[in-house]
Structures are given as C-alpha cells and as structure tokens.
Point group: C2
C-alpha cells in the first residue's frame, strides 16, 4: 500500500482517515519492527536487562534536507543514538516526531523515512513510538524531526566531564568539519561546489571500543560548535586548561580549502560521526590504536590535553605559537543539524 | 540570572555561548529537578522499579500558543503524560524538544517554559533531557514542541483495544469539545467570542481510579478527531459495532452553541483532559461512580457500547433515530494541539 496523494495536506495531520493512511502506508510500513504498534498510545518496552537506563533527545532542522552523505532522516537517527553511545550506552529504542509542512512532497518524505529506517537498522535500534503533525505552508522548513532515545549502559561504566584529570589526553576519532562543509556546499549559496561528504554516521563502534579502558574519562560527539565547543565545555566544567594542537587535528584538504576561502575555522564546524574522548595519558596510545584499527578510523588522532593551569582553551598553532580560542558566539553555519 | 536578549536569534541555536545562556538561564532554571543535568549527553534514569516500561511521544503546534485554560507548554506535558496514563502507567520522565522561530519573544518563551514546569510538577514528572533548535524567521510558527515520556505500569495491567468484547460499555470522563472550541475562539477568526476554557489537564486521577477493575478493557484520550475518532479506532481494531448515544454525550452549552453556529460536530473536536474507557457492562456503573466522585468528574457519563453487529460507528440521535457516523476526513480545526 502506498499513499495516493503526492503532497502533504493539513488533513494528513487531523487525526482522521488521511492521517491514518499516512502513518500506515508510509511511516509504519517503512519503520516496521516487532515493538512498533501504531494503535497503542504508548509502546511497552521489552525487558531491557541489567544496567543504567539512558535517555536523550535531539531536534533536526538541517537545510537542505538531503546532502552528500546523508539527509535529515539519517541525521536524526545518528544524532540521538550517538548521544547514547558517547554516554557509554548501547542504543535500544527511539521515538520519532515529524513536523511536516503543508505541500511537502510525499516522494521526498518517503525517501527520508526510508533513510530513518535504514539508519535505525544499521545501529540496531527500533523506532517504537512516533507522532506526525502538519503545519501550514510557510510555517515550516519542509520537515523538522525530533528523535528521543533510550539506551542501556553497563552499571560499572562511569563517564563524565567530572572524571577528567589534569594531564589527560584528548583524542578525536576522525577528520573534523566534513559535515558542516558538506551541508554548506549543498546549499550552493556561495557559488561553490566541492566533493565533500558528510561524516554523518554511527559512532557506536568507536565508543564501544574504549569502554573497557579504566582510563577512559569522557566522550562527546562534537556536533553544533564543533571540537572547539567540546573543549570549552570541558574547560568550563573542570576548571582545567584545555590545550589543542592545531597541527594534530585532522582536517581533510577540501574542507581546509573551503574554510580558507570563506574564513571558517574547521574547529567550530559540526561533525555528525566523530567522537572526542578524554583518556588518561598512559592509555592514550592504546585508545588511539583501537580507533585506528576500526573502519573509518585511519585518521583518528591525539589532538590535545588538559592542564592544571588557567582555565582557557589554548590553541597551539601550526607556527609554534599559542593563542586563546574563544567560545563560539556568532553562528558561522546555522541549521547544520 | 535571566537572559539579556528580548528576542530569540539564530545564535541561540548555534551550540555556543548564546545557546548555553538560553538553556542555563531559562530552560534549566525553570525546569530544575534532581535528574536534569544539562551538561550530559544523555540522562541516566534512576531505578524505575518493577513493572512495564511505557514510552510515548507527541508533537505540539497549537495556534494560538496561549489560550484560555492552557498554552502549548501545558499541552505538551499533559498530552504526553496522558498517553502514558491511558495506557495504565504512571508518568515518570519527560524529554522536551523546542523548535523556536527566530524573532520569538523571550518573555513569551519564559511563560511557556514556566507553564511546562508547573504542569510537570503537578503531574510529578521530571523533564530530564531536552534540545533547542532555532529556525529562521518565516520557517516556524513561533514555537513547536515535542515531548517524549517514560512511564511505569504494574506488570499485571493488561489493557488494549484487543481486550474489548461485545456488550462492553463506553464511558467518557467529562464534557467533550471544550479544548477545540476554546482554541478556535482564541483565534478570533469568526468574530466570535465566548467563555469556554480548554479542558487541557492531566487525566491521571481518572485512569488510576479504574485500574483495579478487572472489567477495564481499554482507555484513550480523545484528542485529534475527538470521541468519534476513538469510536472508529475501536470499530476498526475489534470488528465490532460501536454505538454512541448522542443524548448521553456531555457537551457544555456554550460549546454546543458555537458548534451549531459554525456547523461543527462536538464529537469530532479535540479534548485534552478527557478519557474514554471501555468497561465490561457489569462494572460500568462502578467505573462511572468512581469518576463522578473525582474533582472535575461530575459530568462523566456512559455514552455507548459495543455490539456484535456490522462494524460501523452508529450514532443514536437525540430524535430516536440512528445514523452511521463517518470517519473524519476534512479537518474542521487544524493545529488544535
């Protein structure tokens, strides 16, 4: 069964026949799994097993909705499951909210929901609850999504910025800025074209690879505000100085070129498939080695450290100098995720 | 600490300083609770105890954002916690997504978040995870919200449309259509004014009051599409005939007046604080008595029954006739929730 209409109308959000058809013939068909029951007001979750229950949510407004390497659908799955992954959990269940603008093309909606289904399947999470609203033409951006996730973490795992100690090393799992630049290029605003694919993807293999290291302190995926913002968050939470080594931070050549042309700093650009980890110095090489051995981990790098000095984020520049890296204020690239 | 700015800008969604200030000085301050940690990627939920975990989500786009008896904030809390309540669960935790339009007034945002906090406190749920996105001017409706909830249900409770048997009675916990008409009047589109307050509120006392009745089959809050749509859902899921007694369905006089003037059928109007329950015939009076004894339950009523006959929704009219009540197609009142 497929939806008869080619475009979404307000009636697809009214609770009646059209909404039922939209949900049955598109969302439920593509997201089908044993725990999805579209007739229930709430999904009963199967026994999750022993451990800590983790809960997180994220909204998605990326523009354009589709870009090289992903779309708003895959982003919505990876964004929320990655937040669970960096917390040390295994993602289990998702809920999905869609705010669809009147007039939105059903074919594009189908591509996006298919992308949600594929990403969820790859991460092995089930979408078990959802809701669809239709907003009037001119009061949306095509489609906005929100995903909320539940994950399970082994009880012994204790991660957090509060665990970070002076002298800990900072690692990143791959090159930074790909997502930001890929989305920016897809907008074709500056007459630029380029061959950059978003890094949107699951970080679960990377986070799981470090969980048995007793020296693992903290992990975070550097999305809005990039690696620099994670450094600021660590600095503010711990009162430690965070030093980043510019030469060590992996950035792909085409990303660097676009940044140089437009005056962007790749350190502030969003990644959607990378992890920053803080690890005790004596285990940093082990951690790095594990990441390098994973598919897509060949550019993982040790990029900085914390120090018991004045609480600033300091960038050691390529030229051998050092400067304070300020907190992000203005937004170089809005609606990047 | 309060936010310096009077209006939301794109920078409030960028991951940097402005976003941090918005979250710290407004969301976190008003929604403060022991389980909310705005520095974590995911919230660790405390041990929930024995029982089934229930999970549900809902999006909110009501226009106007504030109306007599509620606003989009209280609606977002009640909408999602009510979905848990009608499933037989006690709501425990919520996540909150806000999609805020550039230029939105901070004072109104503060009122709405305060309303979320008050409603959450009244239902005794904690908002433990959240996310804020800012969309460009002209690409939103002021603010859209999504709330996702986790609740706990005693393991022995087994409710669902599949439990409904021929001859079961249908009850409603209060008058229908107040929410739909209150929101419609607040739009002042038809030059009409009236003194109708939304019924937006928690149905938890009503759902909890019936849970120990072995004859309780199913509960649902009649939101989009109203009581008529719940009747259609039962009809479709069970293959039974659903008969509604028009004279028995409680509708307040001002709601009836507006419906007559504009040609709306109150049976299709959204309620946001009512429950429909299906109960075995021999326990219907007990169930009704319990509801009538609750605050706000004085207009609870027995409104229909299921029959082993052709699967239609039949309305027994005031005049002694009977007619088929069709499924909602066109939307009488879009963006009602």
């Amino acid at each position: 069964m497929t939806l008869q209409d080619t475009h979404i109308s307000l009636a697809h959000g009214n609770g009646g026949r059209y909404m039922r058809e939209l949900i049955e013939s598109l969302f439920a068909r593509l997201l089908k799994n044993p725990n999805l029951d579209i007739q229930a007001d709430a999904a009963r979750l199967p026994e999750l097993g022993n451990g800590d229950l983790l809960f997180t949510t994220d909204g998605f407004t990326v523009q354009p909705l589709e870009f090289p390497g992903g779309d708003i659908g895959s982003l919505a799955v990876h964004g929320t499951t990655n937040d669970l992954a960096v917390s040390g959990a295994i993602p289990k269940y998702l809920s999905l909210n869609a705010f669809i603008e009147e007039g939105f093309e059903v074919a594009q909606l189908e591509r996006i929901v298919k992308s949600i289904a594929d990403a969820a399947s790859a991460v092995d999470v089930h979408v078990v609850a959802g809701d669809t609203k239709v907003v009037r033409r001119g009061e949306g951006g095509g489609i906005y999504l929100a995903t909320t996730g539940i994950g399970l973490r082994e009880g012994r795992i204790n991660l957090g910025m509060g665990m970070i100690r002076p002298g800990d090393k900072l690692l990143v799992s791959g090159p930074v800025g790909d997502h930001g630049i890929a989305v920016m290029l897809a907008r074709e605003e500056f007459g630029l074209r380029g061959d950059v694919k978003s890094d949107a993807g699951s970080v679960l293999p990377f986070t799981q690879a470090l969980l048995d290291l007793p020296g693992l302190r903290f992990m975070r995926d550097p999305t809005r505000g990039g690696v620099a913002t994670v450094a600021h968050e660590i600095c503010r939470a711990t009162g430690l100085q965070v030093r980043l080594d510019q030469a060590a931070i992996p950035v792909r050549d085409p990303v660097n070129s676009v940044c140089e042309m437009l005056g962007y700093d790749p350190l502030f650009l969003a990644c959607k498939g990378r992890v920053v980890a803080a690890v005790a110095a004596d285990q940093a090489d082990v951690a790095l080695g594990r990441w390098e051995n994973l598919p897509g981990g060949d550019m993982a790098a040790l990029i900085g450290e914390t120090r018991q000095e004045d609480p600033y984020v300091i960038l050691e520049t390529d030229l051998g100098g050092a400067r304070i890296l300020e907190e992000l204020e203005d937004d170089p690239l809005p609606r990047i995720c």
